[in-house]
Symmetry: C2
Subunit: 155 residues, 2 copies
Amino acid sequence: MMTDANRLSDMGLGADDAICAAIVHGAADAIVLADRDGAIRLWNGAAERIFGFRADEAMGRSLDLIIPEKLRARHWEGYREVMRTGRSRYSTELLSVPALRKDGERISVEFTVSLLSGADGAPSGIAAILRDTTERRRRDQELQKRLAALEGRKP
Amino acid sequence: MMTDANRLSDMGLGADDAICAAIVHGAADAIVLADRDGAIRLWNGAAERIFGFRADEAMGRSLDLIIPEKLRARHWEGYREVMRTGRSRYSTELLSVPALRKDGERISVEFTVSLLSGADGAPSGIAAILRDTTERRRRDQELQKRLAALEGRKP
């Protein structure tokens, strides 16, 4: 599973870790890392674009920054469970939730999560890779409405 | 846009770059990096799961490994264009293509790409973050068929 550092470094980009940093910061998907307390510790350029908060506005803040109020209790219940047990039910799953932008707009995001561990093996944070799926979701709902109307039922 | 290394390192995970490496290798989305010649230089655990090739089978191979034959010419045309100009038309776009698994199965993937540059500023590779969307695509096509049938037209 590990990459070959020699092969990577001959790309002129330095060591494997530095290349991974370039991938994370330059990704077109939002990549966000929160520590065990749920405070934001990494916020890449695409997260700035998708959520409207600059990294310096997001860093150190709670993930509540982008979680609609009604969903926060459920979110933190799951989050604390993962931090306590070191296990996530969602390790290969695509999650779909509403999220908030800085301008107050509610968007739809799909994301995957992965658990990070400290040197002691204990869970130290959760990384998420997120895509804005607002437009696709709208199209899907439109389609479901048309289908329901044609089938003579409520959507 | 840059993260605060001090804040990150107090998570017990080391420096920012090491955390990014943990994010990339542990991500639930496939993350693949190809160099300027299109040879695979990074292939994370989720890429192994989604495409069926282990990292040691994929590393150093051409991206043709997962590109259906009919799409290769178009793929490499675009790839070389990006490497020559240092610009990608797809910097914030979600791309959707068929892809090949090791077992020969054809799957659907959605992915974003980002361009990596070497110390000299020249393009040195392209990173992609990919999700298997085969199941959703099938459901969408099913829905379109039902809709077409109800509307008395061909899907």
